[in-house]
């Protein structure tokens, strides 16, 4: 049952990355493609109805982690106190920027919030990436499973590399979203930018894969199939984008990210927080889970609820589909 719980958490994190990933990516890419007040407004409007619902996946995922693996929740959140609080502050800034920008018709007001939006989006992606990097890299854990390292140890070269890769991958994801969802000069610029971002993402993917193998060695043999999936979706992304299939490219980008996260999850398993040096244990899904009864109860309510969420959010997204048109 701990394994099912691990799959549920991995699923929620993956959905979070696919969904909030595109609106974070839009935030990161907007300064490069939107050159006027109207264009920047259009790019914010493209994610307007969705970003809040997307972010709920993070909040619900946090809640699910709390219920399913209380010990991992407690030691990771308190162990990485400052980075977590900084993430919270950035999430707040970003939410406020999107909510308040439109309320006042002044260009200075817009410029300020546009800058906040872009900066907080970029920093959040990098921080999330560095966090994932540290999970894969392993962190120094004390006897009771609390983090005992220092801040600068978290910024090790491997984790920073994963952070940079996350930025490029989500910027690419956001770009495919902008191309799919908007029309106008910004969308055209995004379309032209796409192949270049794609090439950088490919190079970084290879670099991160090599670094991961160097860190952790080759895992289970069948993981070898997942990188094929990654490369196939990356190829499909470029192909569909060059053939002006916006929706297809976005889907391929989603598959690309999902395959990366699948690989990360398989690499981590059965640990939620592996200890350094690798192989010395850590907090595994079996240590962190509560009693079978409590776990079964939490799993049931979470899974039933998520099925409902997936159904009605798909319905709503279909209803709100359609392009945001921005003339200059």
């Amino acid at each position: 049952m701990s394994i099912v719980a691990f799959i549920v958490i991995a699923f929620m994190i993956t959905v979070y990355v696919l969904l909030d990933g595109y609106d974070l990516g839009v935030g990161a890419i907007t300064p490069l493609v939107a050159r006027s007040d109207r264009q920047r407004e259009g790019s914010m409007r493209s994610i307007g109805p969705f970003w809040n619902g997307n972010e709920v996946w993070l909040i619900a995922g946090g809640g699910a982690l709390f219920a399913l693996f209380p010990k991992a929740y407690a030691s990771s959140f308190s162990g990485f106190y400052l980075p977590f609080i900084i993430v919270l502050w950035l999430l707040m800034f970003r939410g406020v920027a999107m909510e308040l920008r439109s309320h006042f018709p002044s260009e200075l007001w817009h410029q300020f919030w546009d800058a906040c939006f872009a900066v907080s989006s970029v920093l959040l992606i990098v921080l999330f990436g560095v966090a994932l990097g540290n999970l894969l890299h392993g962190v120094p854990l004390g006897r009771q499973g609390y983090f005992i390292g220092t801040f600068d140890e978290l910024l090790n070269p491997y984790s920073v590399l994963v952070g940079v890769f996350a930025l490029v991958a989500l910027a690419l994801h956001g770009t495919t979203f902008l191309v799919m969802r908007t029309q106008g000069p910004a969308a055209q610029r995004a379309q032209r930018l796409l192949p270049r971002l794609w090439a950088v993402a490919l190079v970084l993917y290879i670099a991160v894969s090599a670094a991961t193998v160097a860190e952790r060695g080759i895992g289970f043999s069948w993981i070898g199939l997942v990188p094929l999936l990654t490369l196939a979706s990356l190829g499909a992304l470029l192909f569909l984008s060059l053939h002006k299939d916006g929706r297809g490219a976005f889907m391929a980008s989603s598959a690309f990210l999902a395959s990366l996260l699948l690989q990360a999850a398989v690499t981590l398993y059965p640990y939620l927080l592996p200890s350094l040096p690798l192989g010395s244990g850590g907090i595994s899904i079996f240590d962190a889970a509560p009693s079978p009864l409590a776990l079964a109860s939490a799993l049931t309510v979470t899974i039933v609820g998520l099925v409902a969420v997936v159904i009605y959010s798909a319905l709503v997204m279909r209803q709100l589909a359609g392009k945001v048109v921005v003339e200059d």
């Binding site: 407004e41 409007r45 307007g48 109805p49 969705f50 970003w51 809040n52 619902g53 709920v56 909040i59 619900a60 946090g62 809640g63 699910a64 709390f66 219920a67 399913l68 693996f69 209380p70 010990k71 929740y73 407690a74 030691s75 990771s76 959140f77 308190s78 162990g79 106190y81 400052l82 977590f84 609080i85 919270l88 502050w89 707040m92 800034f93 939410g95 406020v96 999107m98 909510e99 308040l100 920008r101 439109s102 309320h103 609390y146 509560p290 009693s291 009864l293 409590a294 109860s297 939490a298 309510v301 979470t302 609820g305 998520l306 409902a308 959010s313 709503v316 209803q319 709100l320 359609g322």
Partner: protein, 443 residues
């Protein structure tokens, strides 16, 4: 500073600031939904009202969301020992809040704000109802989490000291949780009623938007009247019974009762003195405390002196918060009843004195609600889980008080900025008025 105090200060500050916004969203959402439905059915004025209140709702919702995220994560960052021990119980209502309520509210609010031109009218109206349901359900799960910390049920403690859930229905259907939720809900609806009536009164007094303003005052006064009574009886009364039964020392602190007393009087005012262990300059109503607590004018009520000092909650704060809540609650009944009488006689819209009262009354339901939470949570001390775990044992072992003070200062600065922006934007929307509201455009 002691690390426990630093963690408590940060939680208290962030939760009290956060709670201002859910009060408004929970209290306003029925108005938003009902005006939206009337608007969809062809009432053009109601559609304008719906657009106006949706805008006010959305600003409150946004600030509520961004200040709510730190609440959920603070359990892990600052209260790791508590979370590790109790996560299998309290993690569940928190996870359900996200999965069942918050998704509903956020996704359908997206439709409400952006979808008017895209979606079918029935779906638009349904979205308003979904937002309504989601926001109340969200409130329920949060209160159920707190209620479990006040009165734990449906759990067992393992030999290693971990609290394990044994029954989720016991946690979610606990009468303690339901009465507490209904009390909180009524409190928010009093605030919603006062806000709608108060803004209507402002428009009437400034002689603008007269037609809509009358509808606002009308609807707001009736809601404020009904719920200012329900918040006292039966919900407040039942909360009092639960405190008497399960947390008698909190009752003694609320009432400033030091010596155990038969025929205990109720202190209407008076200032507690922790040195002499008595009230300074009290005004008492004889026998009433015995009656309120036990339904019997002669009942014996245990005072604070009867308990070990280590079990005593901070008396002064609990006492004042309780008296502020109850005093304001009484004033709300009076103002709302007076306004209702004038409304009945069809003279309210021409009576500036009462319109002024309604307008100036707006902030006070917020103060009363916050005070109520102070009674509940400060009065719970020294326990984080009543009778099971001390607050001091719940903090994160790896987080120093210096770290928490740093982040507390950060939150203080950020919330100050948020507060200023919020007030500016909401006051601006009110100044523009419902007639100026156009379709909600960009994000």
């Amino acid at each position: 500073m002691d690390v426990v105090i630093a963690d408590r200060l940060q939680f208290a500050f962030t939760v009290m600031f956060h709670y201002l916004f859910p009060i408004t969203t929970i209290g306003l959402v029925p108005f938003v939904a009902l005006y939206t439905i009337q608007g969809v059915r062809g009432d053009a004025d109601a559609a304008k009202a719906a657009a106006f209140w949706t805008k006010i709702f959305a600003v409150n919702f946004a600030i509520g969301v961004v200040t709510g995220i730190p609440m959920e994560f603070q359990f892990g960052t600052n209260w790791a020992a508590f979370s590790a021990v109790s996560g299998s119980v309290i993690g569940q209502p928190l996870a359900m809040e996200g999965v069942y309520a918050f998704f509903l509210e956020s996704i359908f609010l997206g439709v409400l704000l952006y979808g008017k031109t895209y979606v079918a009218p029935w779906l638009y109206a349904t979205s308003a109802v979904a937002v309504w349901f989601g926001s109340w359900l969200s409130g329920f799960f949060i209160v159920a989490t707190d209620a479990w910390m006040q009165h734990p049920v449906g759990y067992t403690i393992t030999p290693s000291g971990v609290i394990e859930l044994t029954s989720l229905p016991a946690v979610l259907l606990s009468p303690f949780a339901w009465w507490q939720f209904l009390h909180v809900l009524c409190g928010a609806l009093v605030a919603g009623g006062f806000v709608v009536a108060g803004i209507g009164a402002y428009y009437l007094l400034s002689k603008r938007e007269t037609l809509l303003a009358r509808r606002f005052v009308d609807a707001g006064v009736i809601v404020a009247f009904v719920f200012s009574i329900l918040v006292v009886f039966p919900t407040g009364d039942r909360n009092g019974d639960d405190v008497t039964k399960y947390q008698p020392i909190k009752l003694a602190a609320m009432e400033g009762l030091y010596a155990t007393t038969k025929d205990a009087p109720l202190a209407i005012i008076g200032m507690p003195d922790s040195h002499t262990k008595s009230l300074i300059d009290p005004i008492y109503v004889p026998d009433i405390l015995s009656f309120l607590a036990y339904g019997n004018f002669n009942a014996n009520v245990k005072g604070l002196n009867a308990y070990a000092a280590a079990l005593e909650p901070p008396v002064v704060l609990t006492y004042y918060a309780y008296h502020m809540m109850v005093g304001l609650g009484t004033i709300f009944v009076a103002i709302a009843a007076l306004a209702t009488v004038f409304l009945w006689r069809k003279r309210l819209f021409e009576t500036p004195a009462i319109l002024w009262l309604l307008m100036l009354g707006m902030p006070f339901p917020y103060i009363a609600s916050e005070a109520g939470w102070v009674v509940s949570e400060v009065g719970r001390q020294p326990w984080i889980i009543y009778g099971i775990m001390r607050t001091a044992a719940g903090v994160s072992p790896t987080v120093a008080s210096g770290e928490t003070i740093f982040t507390l200062l950060g939150f203080a600065g950020m919330y100050f900025l948020l507060g200023v922006l919020f007030l500016y934007l909401v006051l601006r929307e009110i100044a523009l008025g419902p007639s100026a509201v156009v379709e909600h455009g960009a994000a």
